[in-house]
């Protein structure tokens, strides 16, 4: 558990033992996210950056992977306790503070387990610390290391001799002054007593009793409250701000204008809200938006940045030889993160330095980009992560941190800003809309011999990275540009990379003579066109991976139906990867899958229809394996889909915490269901019209929740992969395939609204 905001670093150092701050020189974060380490954070190569042992033997662990509600703080605490052989209660975990913790880049992309639970970083720090303590104990006790055992923070002779020494006695309050040892032995899963167990969430008792400090609860002395005034339409700019319009309103401290950024600071939040809503700002008209109704056609016609992921260069000739060629187009809308709590941040900006409390997924980049925004040296900006409402990707956390920073700088006092629901929803970086055209050829036995994928998606802005505050709305309003968009033709693929799951699982994935894919189809092409979006976009849980997988797994079902093959058997026939095959088989077995082609024979044209569907994915090509079976009822008169059961099989390597994993799989399955059935961002010719929970629908707690079963495939000998995006990636396709099985109607556009279901039912032959 992290200390509260009022906790001073000085006290902190007194209680937590040694700490070393050096310039990080290694490339661990760079390898994952392509950004060099930010100067000023503890080096990821030094043991003292990760682990400190106090005189009382308590352990403080520092990590650059933060808690977002995904359970990683509990799992990391288990990891440290396990490697150090101490009870979990003795470990305190500090995460994501640019002054205290190693720079591990973003907490995103299902990368926290790969980063910290394999033979590197936090896990290797734990192993190095245990090895070091055993060596020190050996020297102190005069007993060879191999005759010592560590338990509960005490090292003893295995012989039972009375000699023993505690961690506190060995090193308490002192630095290790050692580099991480890549050879230090990790505890193998067979020896685990804390990892691999369903350890309860560490912060939950405080949260359920209203005692937990979210970023929304950070309060500083002298703190004021800000509200922002966003433009009325996309592309509107400020003509003038009439400060006299709010003169005399209670509590108003200042109106702040910086280019097109407008905000109000007041003594209390309610006063700030009143003032912001009454402030008269003259704006230019918006720059206009493409029509919502024919947006997908618009998308195809824009100048594009093209990327070839795989190209066997024989796709057209192979398709010409096929006994049958099937084509289908899939549509996926913009969707939003829609965090429960609108985003909030607290900033304390002085003339030469700043401290920011933020729920950002990237404190190091919040630091460098806020420095740009504020005109400060990056080394004088400290960003301290505080948990926010679940973000599921790039929600408003980064932008509201800029809001608070700009307003605090303008008044020279700490300022807290929480966005309104509308400011959050109308301006967040949405998950990308996609149009995906698929073609495949079948031979006379119904085997796939060629697969062609061509997709269009729209992008604008993104995570700010190390230097682009203009990638989110506040940065743009304050005068920074987003990443430039430059159309360019595709070049030949250089290496196999299925990070976005643009390459279907059934392809061989051959690049440069090496097959990196998980499937058998050798004639293959995957071409992706990225165009400039009229709206902000950014990562939303399973970004692009979900959209691509919806298309691929629906199309695979169409191919299986055409081949009159069972959807499970047809998938297995075209999958070469053992772990992906295993999750498909596990989900089918647990669901008691009825092996037969879809749609089921005799599916009635009227009355409630029942069906089952499956979908699977090798997440990011190799970062976890997932299959879901959905069972649905379709009510043809209303067009309603009732999902009755979801059976989810997952393989993410060695399981750190089976209950935490199940929680992620269950939540991902239902979030995926909400996105599949309801969620779509809408707009008119000037502005986004999805700006609250009436205009952007989500499944409430009271909906008819399906039965969810999870099948966990533990792989103790494999590397740890991501887990949080496994189930969500395949749910839409599994539901769509189940609807097809029930009715023979194919859903190719998300969300599956009753109108679209009825239209698909009417199209049945």
């Amino acid at each position: 558990m992290t200390p509260r905001a009022g906790f001073s670093r000085r006290n902190f150092l007194k209680t937590s033992g040694a700490l070393i701050v050096t310039v990080a020189l290694d490339g661990a974060a760079e390898a994952q996210f392509g950004i060099a380490p930010i100067a000023g954070s503890p080096s990821t190569r030094q043991l003292d950056s990760w682990i400190a042992i106090a005189a009382d033997g308590s352990v403080t662990a520092y990590t650059g992977k933060e808690e977002l509600g995904q359970g990683i703080s509990t799992a990391q605490t288990q990891l440290v306790a396990e490697e150090l052989c101490v009870p979990i209660e003795r470990v305190k975990l500090i995460y994501c503070d640019t002054a205290l913790t190693p720079d591990q880049s973003y907490t995103s992309g299902s990368q926290s387990h790969p980063a910290n639970f394999n033979h590197n970083n936090l896990a290797q720090a734990g192993a190095t610390a245990r090895q070091t303590l055993l060596r020190l104990a050996s020297e102190r006790l005069g007993i060879p290391i191999e005759q010592l055992t560590a338990k509960d923070g005490v090292i003893r002779a295995q012989s039972g001799a009375p000699k023993q020494v505690t961690y506190g006695e060995l090193i308490g309050g002192h630095k290790f002054n050692l580099a991480l040892d890549p050879q230090a032995r990790r505890k193998p899963p067979a020896e685990w007593t804390i990892l691999g167990k369903p350890v309860p969430q560490r912060d939950l008792p405080a949260i359920v009793t209203g005692q937990f400090e979210f970023v929304h609860n950070v309060r500083l002395p002298r703190m004021l409250h800000g509200r922002v005034v966003r433009p009325p339409a996309v592309g509107s700019t400020v003509i003038s701000v009439d400060e006299s319009s709010i003169r005399g309103l209670p509590g108003v401290v200042k109106v702040v204008v910086r280019k097109n950024f407008v905000g109000v600071v007041a003594e209390k939040p309610w006063q700030a809200l009143q003032a912001a809503s009454k402030l008269k700002v003259a704006w230019t008209p918006g720059t206009g938006l493409p029509g919502h109704a024919d947006f997908y056609e618009w998308l195809r016609k824009q100048p594009a940045r093209d990327t070839l992921m795989v190209d066997s260069q024989d796709i057209d000739s192979k398709l010409a030889q096929a006994a049958t060629v099937l084509r289908a187009t899939y549509h996926y809308p913009y969707q939003m993160h829609g965090s429960m709590g609108s985003s909030c941040a607290v900033a304390d900006v002085a003339s030469d330095r700043a401290t920011l409390w933020s729920a950002t997924q990237g404190v190091w980049y919040q630091k460098t980009t806020s420095a740009l925004l504020l005109g400060l040296k990056p080394e004088n900006v400290r960003v301290i992560f505080r948990r926010g409402s679940g973000c599921y990707g790039l929600n408003g956390a980064d932008t509201v941190t800029y809001d608070a920073a700009l307003l605090s700088q303008a008044v020279g006092k700490p300022v807290r800003v929480q966005l309104t629901r509308k400011d959050e929803m109308a301006w967040e970086n949405y998950g990308n809309a996609f149009v995906i055209d698929l073609r495949a050829g079948l031979d006379t036995q119904g085997n796939i011999i060629a697969w062609d994928h061509q997709a269009w998606s729209a992008s604008y802005g993104n995570r700010p990275g190390a230097a682009m505050p203009g990638n989110v709305i506040t940065g743009l309003l304050a005068g920074f540009e987003p990443d430039a968009f430059t159309p360019r033709p595709a070049v030949a693929p250089r290496a196999y990379n299925n990070n976005s799951n643009a390459i279907p699982s059934y392809l061989a994935g051959s690049v440069g003579g090496k097959a990196g894919g998980t499937g058998t189809v050798r004639s293959e092409r995957v071409l992706v066109h990225t165009v400039q979006s009229p709206f902000w976009t950014g990562p939303l849980r399973s970004p692009a991976r979900l959209q691509n997988t919806f298309a691929h797994e629906s199309f695979m079902d169409e191919l299986a139906a055409h081949a009159k093959a069972d959807p499970v058997e047809f998938r297995l026939r075209h999958l070469s990867h053992e772990r992906l095959r295993a999750v498909v088989e596990a989900a089918a077995k647990a669901a008691n899958w009825d092996r037969r082609p879809s749609p089921q024979s005799g599916s009635s044209q009227t009355g409630t229809a029942v069906g089952r569907g499956i979908a699977c994915v090798a997440y990011e090509g190799e970062n976890g394996y997932s299959a879901v079976v959905a069972e649905v009822e379709v009510h043809p008169d209303s067009g309603q889909i009732a999902v009755k059961r979801l059976v989810c099989a997952a393989d993410c390597g060695p399981i750190s915490n089976p209950d935490g994993l199940r929680n992620q799989i269950e939540g991902g399955a239902l979030q995926g269901m909400s996105r599949a059935l309801l969620e779509e961002v809408t707009w008119d010719d000037q502005k986004v019209t999805s700006f609250d929970w009436r205009t952007y629908r989500t499944l409430p707690l009271g909906f008819d929740v399906p039965k969810i079963e999870t099948v966990l495939l533990n792989r103790p000998d494999e590397a740890a992969t991501g887990a949080g995006e496994l189930s969500i990636t395949v749910v839409a396709a599994a539901i769509g395939n189940a609807v097809f099985d029930a009715t023979g109607a194919r859903l190719r556009q998300v969300p599956f609204t009753p109108e679209r279901v009825k239209a698909a039912l009417n199209l049945r032959s």
């Binding site: 008792p205 359920v208 679940g390 629901r421 929680n663 399955a669 929970w693 409430p700």
Partner: protein, 155 residues
């Protein structure tokens, strides 16, 4: 501004506030309570829920003057980390949370409903939760925790 007396978690407070101020702002900003949360400010999600006269209400759209003198219970008024209320304990036992931001909405809405309707059917419970949102979709566990609490209620 005018003096308003609020009785929150058993303690009286006299506050000098604009009587139109939504209750949530007074609880969060004047009384520094951390249970009720700002989710939407529109009464659509439930994050700001408090219990007044046995009813779950949305404090973000409730003018403070309308609850002057009434008994108000917030999440921190139920129990503590060391001694959680049975419904809080049920949520811990079921591990019914991810980010936890919506827990205030879910726990207080379910508690107020079940305390008045201890024999409610699952369908009636669902109906009572039809305007409560959880964007982590921890629904399965939350419904289990609510059921666990219901089973502990005197009938």
């Amino acid at each position: 501004m005018s003096a308003i007396t609020l009785k929150v978690n058993g303690s009286p407070h006299v506050l000098d506030v604009d009587p139109a101020t939504p209750l949530l702002y007074v609880l969060s900003d004047d009384l520094a309570l951390e249970g009720p949360k700002f989710g939407c400010g529109l009464g659509q999600c439930g994050a700001c829920t408090v219990i007044v006269k046995g009813q779950a209400i949305r404090s973000c759209i409730t003018p403070v003057e309308s609850v002057a003198g009434a008994d108000i219970t917030t999440l921190e008024g139920l129990g503590t980390v060391d001694k959680p209320h049975p419904i809080q304990r049920a949520f811990i036992e079921e591990q019914a949370a991810q980010c936890g931001f919506c827990l205030n909405a879910v726990i207080l809405t379910a508690k107020a409903f079940l305390d008045r309707n201890p024999k409610a059917s699952p369908e009636e419970i669902r109906q009572a939760l039809s305007n409560v949102l959880c964007r982590c979709f921890t629904h399965v566990r939350m419904l289990r925790a609510i059921e666990r609490y219901q089973q502990e209620l005197p009938r």
